[in-house]
């Protein structure tokens, strides 16, 4: 599975939406359940699933699929 596919699955299961609604351009405002609580749950899920360490400062910058993919790339996730 590609990083995108793994991220797509993580977002889908955490926010309880069908996987195909999460695309390469999806951002938080596109998904009703990606509210502030959903985002916190997602931050935890991403951290655990990809074994990365997020800082509080990162939370605010990772509210879309593109920013998340960029971040995972910088963390060496492939």
């Amino acid at each position: 599975m590609s990083v995108f596919e793994r991220l797509q699955a993580t977002i889908a299961s955490t926010l309880k939406v069908p996987a195909d609604t999460i695309t390469a351009t999806t951002k938080d405002k596109d998904v009703p359940s990606w509210d502030s609580l959903g985002h916190l749950n997602l931050m935890m899920a991403v951290e655990q699933t990809f074994d990365v360490m997020l800082d509080v400062e990162d939370f605010a910058n990772l509210k879309s699929v593109p920013t998340l993919l960029d971040y995972l790339k910088t963390q060496g996730v492939s």
Binding site: L40, A45, Q48, V56
Partner: protein, 629 residues
């Protein structure tokens, strides 16, 4: 430690929730999506999922706990319907029309912070001298006692209260334990006093010690997630959330699942290492060296479960003499003959033996927990007796002592005097049976023999009326008694207390004493006094332990005498048939009640219908009515 993909996939193939729980106990970390998948899988397993309604009142962010609460619930066969009060709203939820009360939860948990109780708790405790610390504690207790009283006045189920531990270690640091102004000592004293208040005054409640949760997962990385705490005021790291969720769901589920009463233990590789029939007394591992010391610790742990009120039984495939030798002669065997309420040591199939134990102990199979190291035996019992919960003893000796610590149904919410006496009570019963057989008043004896036997027991009955001290035991009786129970109404402690306090209800109970001992409180009758000089016998139940001694008749007629003296003219009653109470189908007619159709009965209280004390071989005494009406 993260879980390997292969291992995770195998979890999704497990078909029993008990097995799934066991696997997840091995300390794997779970990611959120993994937990969610396991939740969905656990929900789909048999038996069908049951609903559990939960209420949460909180002064810090708690919504993120939901995934873990749902997960803990699903593993125990429950689906949660959770109401979250608004952030920071506490006492406003403690009234009849609040969202919380209208939600009708089975359990309500108060997730509070220490600082909620008193503004001075936000300051260093070490800044207060001992006198000031004492008044601070009294004022804080006053706050929480008031909150608990208000919540308890509403029908919100089991009331669970918790306080978040501090984010940082104690003010005095390493010196705290020894300091005169010790914070830990202050909080221990606080919890002790709160516990006393809850035991005596707040029925159906539980103090959830969050400091214990933090100790369990580790205060540092295990408990607090500082990023979540400082950015969103949600404290919990995943390991804390999982453990806390479990400690909320487990007490709540105790009222939903059949109550566990018996732990049936295998012997070889469960109570000791090795096989007695092959290794002999000197070959089995049971002693101060590894691995025998682990098995000794497990036996020691079983004594703890006995103290919670569970009865121990044995079911082992062995020659009886071999096992007997260990029980009587092995110097490191902690569990002796007297610790087992019953035993089946033979070569018969274990499911049959367990059924036989259920009959002997007069307990339902759904109250049995079976512990065995053999996968083959566990599978046999799982498939033939699905109501029995099966725990497989770990193969690794170091894991054996704790193997029952995560079994939800082995937790208790109260411990009564009767609980502490359980095994002794079974031993007394065995002696009575033997006595009965010895004087020939067994199955072949006629009425005269039976009468002689009963008279020889020298029975005395103590009847208590509206006795507040008995609340926990009476609630327990309504929840556990299935066979000798006319209407099978279940009550929790809060409800029993209300009936006792009400002028319209008479709550009567009895204990039975004979030459072999005191049975403890074994019977309950609830009469509702109605206008026009009638009373309704709303509940009449008795523990199976004392069947066959005319205690039920003596109790009923004694209470009818009491009611007659109070001016009651007629008593109505009902029999509501269930799968388990066929035993009492004819009880009311046998006692002189007249059927009026539809399972309802009545009896006019006259000198002819109400029997005197001498009609039964039991001397009846009423406890002095202190504080009752």
């Amino acid at each position: 430690m993260a879980i390997q993909q292969e291992k995770f996939d195998s979890l999704l193939k497990i078909q029993s929730r008990a097995e799934l729980r066991e696997q997840l106990n091995s300390g794997f970390d779970l990611t959120l999506p993994q937990a969610q998948q396991l939740t969905a899988h656990a929900r789909s397993l048999a038996p069908a999922i049951k609903p559990l309604r939960l209420g949460i009142v909180h002064t810090f962010t708690s919504d993120l706990l939901d995934t873990w609460l749902d997960h803990a619930a699903a593993l125990e066969g429950l689906e949660l319907n959770t109401y979250h009060a608004s952030y920071g709203v506490v006492v406003q939820e403690a009234h009849a029309k609040s969202g919380l009360t209208l939600h009708a939860p089975d359990a309500t948990v108060l997730l509070l912070q220490r600082e909620d109780m008193h503004p001075d708790l936000a300051k260093p405790l070490a800044g207060f001298n001992p006198e000031q610390q004492l008044s601070l504690r009294q004022e804080s207790l006053a706050w929480i006692k008031n909150v608990l009283l208000q919540f308890r006045a509403q029908p919100i189920g089991l009331l669970i209260v918790s306080f978040l531990p501090p984010v940082l270690p104690t003010g005095p640091g390493l010196y705290d334990a020894q300091s005169q102004r010790s914070e830990t000592a202050w909080w221990s004293a606080f919890k002790g006093e709160l516990a006393e208040f809850m035991r005596s005054t707040i029925q159906s409640s539980l103090l959830l010690d969050m400091d214990e949760v933090a100790a369990h997962v580790g205060r540092g990385k295990g408990f607090f997630d500082w990023r979540m705490w400082y950015s969103a005021r949600y404290p919990f790291a995943v390991s804390a959330a999982r453990e806390l969720a479990r400690r909320i769901v487990v007490p709540a589920l105790l009222s939903k699942h059949p109550k566990a009463k018996v732990i049936v233990l295998d012997a070889d590789n469960t109570l000791w290492g090795g096989i007695i029939g092959e290794d002999g007394m000197h070959g089995i591992a049971l002693g101060p060296e590894y691995p025998g010391n682990a098995y000794m610790d497990f036996q020691r742990r079983l004594l703890d479960f006995q103290q919670r009120g569970f009865v121990l039984a044995m079911c082992s495939k062995n020659n009886a003499a071999d096992v007997q030798q260990v029980l009587t002669e092995h110097p490191h065997q902690l569990l002796r003959e007297s610790h087992f309420a019953a035993k089946r040591v033979n070569w018969l199939p274990k499911p049959d033996n367990i059924r036989s134990l259920a009959q002997e102990l007069n307990l339902g199979l759904d109250s049995f927990i079976f512990v065995d190291d053999s996968e083959h035996e566990c599978a046999a019992v799982r498939s033939e007796l699905p109501q029995v919960e099966v725990i497989r003893t770990p193969a690794k000796p170091i894991l054996v002592p704790s193997c029952l610590d995560r079994v939800a149904r082995l937790e208790v919410l109260s411990i009564t005097a009767e609980d502490l006496e359980k095994t002794a009570l079974y031993a007394q019963e065995r002696q009575r049976k033997e006595f009965q057989e010895s004087i020939g008043a067994g199955a072949s004896g006629g009425t005269t023999d039976m009468r002689a036997h009963l008279a020889a027991l020298g029975m005395r009955m103590n009847i208590g009326i509206d006795d507040v001290k008995a609340v926990a035991r009476l609630a327990q009786l309504t929840q556990k008694t299935n066979q000798f129970n006319l209407t099978t109404h279940r009550y929790d402690e809060r409800q029993v207390r209300e009936l006792i306090d009400s002028a319209d209800w008479v709550v009567a109970h009895f204990t039975l004493i004979d030459k072999f001992g005191n049975s403890g409180i074994v019977g309950l009758a609830l009469f509702q006094l109605q206008t026009k000089g009638d009373a309704l016998l709303e509940t009449f139940l008795m523990s199976c332990r004392v069947i066959g001694r005319e205690a039920e008749s003596a109790f009923l007629h004694s209470m009818l005498r009491v009611l007659k003296e109070r001016g009651v003219k007629e008593v109505r009653a009902a029999y509501a048939p269930t799968a388990k109470n066929g035993l009492v189908a004819q009880f009311l007619p046998e006692q002189g009640f007249e059927a009026i159709g539809d399972g309802h009965y009545k009896m006019a209280l006259t000198a002819d219908t109400v029997k005197t004390e001498s009609a039964f071989p039991i001397v009846v005494q009423f406890d002095t009515l202190s504080g009752s009406h």
